[in-house]
C-alpha cells in the first residue's frame, strides 16, 4: 500500500491542483480578468484553495457552502478573505450546487469555475497526479481515490488508461447521514458533468464508522494524520488488498491522502469511542 500525501499542498489538500488548473485555464481563455468576482459551490477544500489563489491574484471570492461543515472550514475561508453563503444542510452539496447555479444566473458578471463540470479539474490530475504516480511507482496495480467532483479519478483514470490500461481505478464514495440524502424527489439527484463511468473499475460506498476507524489506524500505525475522506479511501484500498491477498496475487495499491486532520479536530471524532465519534459526524459533511 502506498499513500500519496496530497495534504502537503500549499493550502493543505488535493484541491490545490484542480483549483490552480481551473483558474489558469479561465485566465488563458480571458473569462477571468483582474478584479473579477468568483463564485463556487464547495464543501470546503476547493473553496479554501480558491480563496488563497484569489487573495494572491486579486479576485473576490464567494463560496456557497453547506451549513453542516466543520467550523475550521469557515475560519480558513474567512482568513483568506472569502465571503460565505451558507446553503441548507438538507441535501448537502446538491443544495450548494443548486444555490450557486441560481446565483450565477442572477449575477452574470460573476465567474463560476464550477468544479463539477469543468474539464480543467480532471485535466490537472491528468497532467500532474497521474504522471507522478507512475514515475514514483512503476509497479502500480491499483489506484484508489475519493469520489466527490470525480476530478481526481477522471484525470488519473484517463492518464492510466492511456499509459497503463491494466491498472484498476477504484472509487471510494463517502456515505453520509440521512440528512444529506434528504432530496424532495429522485430527479433532484446529481451526477457531476465531468463523471465518466467508463474510467472506473469499481466503486465502493464507505460509511462514517469505517472511515473514522481507518483514519485512526492510519494515525496509530503510520503516523499519518488525515481527514476522514482519507479514511474512507483507505477502507476501500484495504478491501482491494485483502481480495488480492486471498487470490494469492501481488499488488501495489496507491491511495490518496486528500487532506490533513486539522480542519476536523473540532468534530471530536479523533478521540473517544467509535460510537461517539460516529454520532459526532452524523449529519455532517465529513469528507
Amino acid at each position: 500500500m502506498w499513500a500519496k500525501l496530497e495534504d502537503r499542498n500549499p493550502t493543505g489538500s488535493i484541491k490545490d491542483r484542480a483549483v490552480r488548473s481551473m483558474v489558469e485555464q479561465a485566465e488563458r481563455e480571458g473569462i477571468l480578468k483582474p478584479g473579477a468576482t468568483l463564485l463556487e459551490p464547495t464543501s470546503g477544500n476547493t473553496g479554501i484553495a480558491l480563496a488563497m489563489i484569489s487573495k494572491l491574484r486579486g479576485y473576490q471570492l464567494i463560496c456557497v457552502m453547506p451549513e453542516n461543515t466543520s467550523p475550521e472550514r469557515t475560519q480558513l475561508l474567512t482568513m483568506w478573505g472569502a465571503r460565505i453563503i451558507y446553503s441548507s444542510a438538507v441535501g448537502g452539496s446538491n443544495e450548494a450546487v443548486r444555490v450557486a447555479k441560481v446565483l450565477a444566473a442572477e449575477n452574470p458578471d460573476w465567474v463560476m469555475l464550477y468544479q463539477y463540470g469543468n474539464p480543467a479539474n480532471a485535466q490537472a490530475h491528468y497532467n500532474t497526479t497521474g504522471p507522478e504516480l507512475l514515475a514514483d511507482l512503476p509497479t502500480l496495480t491499483h489506484f484508489v481515490a475519493g469520489l466527490g467532483t470525480t476530478g481526481t479519478l477522471m484525470g488519473v483514470g484517463r492518464y492510466l488508461r492511456e499509459h497503463r490500461p491494466e491498472v484498476k481505478i477504484v472509487a471510494a464514495e463517502p456515505r453520509y447521514g440521512e440528512l444529506v440524502y434528504g432530496l424532495r424527489n429522485l430527479d433532484e439527484g446529481f451526477v457531476p458533468e465531468i463523471y465518466d463511468e467508463s474510467m472506473l473499475s469499481s466503486r465502493f460506498s464507505v460509511g462514517a464508522r469505517d472511515a473514522i476507524r481507518r483514519t485512526r489506524e492510519l494515525m496509530d500505525l503510520e503516523g499519518i494524520f488525515a481527514g476522514f475522506s482519507t479514511g474512507a479511501i483507505l477502507h476501500a484500498a484495504l478491501g482491494i488488498a485483502e481480495k488480492a491477498q486471498r487470490a494469492g496475487e501481488s499488488a501495489d495499491i496507491a491511495f490518496i491522502v486528500c487532506d490533513g486532520g486539522w480542519k476536523y479536530l473540532s468534530t471530536g471524532a479523533y478521540e473517544g469511542s467509535l460510537n461517539d465519534a460516529e454520532t459526532a459526524l452524523e449529519g455532517q459533511l465529513w469528507a
Binding site: P41, T42, S43, T46, G91, G92, S93, N94, A96, V97, Q115, Y116, G146, L147, G148, T149, G151, A171, E173, P174, R175, Y176, E178, V180, Y181, G182, L183, R184, N185, L186, D187, E188, G189, F190, V191, P192, E197, L200, S201, S202, R203, F204, S205, V206, A287
Partner: protein, 90 residues
C-alpha cells in the same frame, strides 16, 4: 435467500416508513421484483426501461452494482443491499 435492503428516506413512504426491509431473490433484479410485490411502486422508482435510473445508486455489500453485473448481480444470503440517491460530493 434473504437479504437486507436499506431504503433511503425518499422511498420510505412506499415501505410504510421502514428503513430496513428484507427481500428474497438470487439476483438484484429478483430482489427488486420481490420488493415490488411487497411494496408496490418501488420498482418504478428504481428502474426505467434502460435499467437503473440515472440518479439511483444500488450497492451490494457496499459495492456499486454498476461495476458488478448491474441488475444481474448475484445476491447471497445475508448480503446487505443499500439504495441511495446520487448526490454531489466535493
Amino acid at each position: 435467500m434473504s437479504v437486507e435492503v436499506r431504503v433511503p428516506t425518499i422511498l420510505r413512504p412506499l415501505t410504510g416508513g421502514e428503513k430496513v426491509v428484507t427481500a428474497n431473490g438470487e439476483t438484484l433484479a429478483a430482489v427488486v421484483a420481490d420488493l415490488d410485490g411487497t411494496y408496490p411502486g418501488i420498482s418504478d422508482r428504481l428502474l426505467d426501461d434502460s435499467g437503473l435510473r440515472r440518479f439511483v445508486n444500488i450497492y451490494v455489500n457496499d459495492e456499486d452494482v454498476r461495476f458488478l453485473a448491474g441488475l444481474q448481480t448475484l445476491v447471497a444470503d445475508q448480503d446487505a443491499i443499500t439504495i441511495l440517491p446520487a448526490v454531489a460530493g466535493g
